[in-house]
């Protein structure tokens, strides 16, 4: 099963999820919610922006600069596909009622 590596990275997944559940948010809000540092968030946003998953809009509110972030329709589709594929992957993992994974199915057969 194909998993979008760009979305799969935990920090980027967190950023995309946060932006998916709001109409728009500024840099500070996403930084707080995703618990990332400024530098981390900036570098992940650059990658997501390059892929067309988020839209970064720099502007001013009065004299203060504000960077507003939005998820694009392409980013929404990517996240929805990722959630669906991960759900499929997890559903395919055979788990006993006790919660113990059946080793025989997961471990490769010994020669």
């Amino acid at each position: 099963m194909e998993v979008d590596r760009l979305v799969h990275e935990p920090a980027r997944l967190s950023i995309l999820s946060q932006l998916y559940v709001v109409a728009e948010a500024d840099f500070l809000f996403v930084m707080q919610q995703a618990q990332l540092t400024q530098g981390n968030l900036s570098s992940h946003l650059a990658k997501l922006d390059e892929a067309g998953y988020v839209e970064v809009q720099k502007g001013f509110v009065g004299k203060r600069p504000r960077t507003v972030l939005r998820i694009t329709p392409k980013g929404q589709r990517a996240l929805e596909q990722y959630v669906a594929s991960m759900r499929q992957v997890l559903n395919d993992v055979p788990v006993k009622k006790s919660g113990r994974v059946r080793r025989a199915k997961l471990m490769p057969a010994r020669a």
């Binding site: 998916y20 709001v22 960077t67 929805e80």
Partner: protein, 195 residues
């Protein structure tokens, strides 16, 4: 929206709960109590209307000044915004309906029962609690009705009785705000934003 994302949306929405609206509602009831104490000087309806009209811009200003520098700016999901707007409409309609019923059954509203006065404020609070997903606002509606019951049982009307509920609501709002301020201290803004 999947279940996981829906719960994330709820959690994200909860971060905007700063207690400022609670403080304003508490101040509103204290002001109504003061207005009611003046038998002829102040009209409670006019005071309530003026305060309600001023509440939104004041709330917006306080949010911009206190909450946004801490948690940042966020515009809620379209579905959440629609639900909030619907809540405001239903709350206002409920308040208008109760006032009309009160006026109709009391021949012009001169002898309005203290219970009706409680309902006028408690029902919109409960409606806001439901639509804005703020469970403690149900308690505020309950406090108003308990207060009105106490007023009725003690041979009211005692106008000053709006004071305790106002103080209780504002105090709870202050606690929520204090927690919010502790949880979200002001952080340096993004370096790219400052450049």
């Amino acid at each position: 929206m999947s279940t996981e994302l829906a719960s994330l949306e709820r959690r994200t929405y909860r971060t905007t709960d700063d207690g400022i609206a609670d403080i304003l509602v508490g101040v509103f009831f204290m002001a109504v109590g003061i207005a009611m104490s003046f038998e002829r000087g102040l009209n409670v309806g006019i005071v309530s209307g003026l305060l309600a009209a001023a509440a939104f811009p004041v709330w917006r200003g306080l949010r911009r000044g206190i909450a946004e520098p801490r948690v940042g700016y966020v515009r809620l999901h379209a579905a959440r915004s629609r639900r909030m707007r619907l809540g405001q409409c239903v709350g206002a309609a409920a308040m208008a309906a109760i006032i009309l019923v009160g006026v109709f059954f009391t021949g012009g509203g001169r002898q309005v029962d203290t219970w009706f006065v409680g309902l006028v404020y408690a029902v919109p609070l409960a409606v806001v609690a439901y639509f804005a997903d703020l469970p403690r606002w149900y308690a505020y509606a309950g406090v108003i009705m308990i207060e009105r019951a106490a007023d009725s049982l003690s041979g009211g009307p005692h106008e000053w009785l709006f004071w305790p509920s106002g103080v209780i609501i504002a105090a709870i709002g202050a606690v929520v705000l204090a927690r919010f301020l502790r949880r979200y201290p002001i952080r340096e803004r993004d370096v790219t934003e400052r450049s």
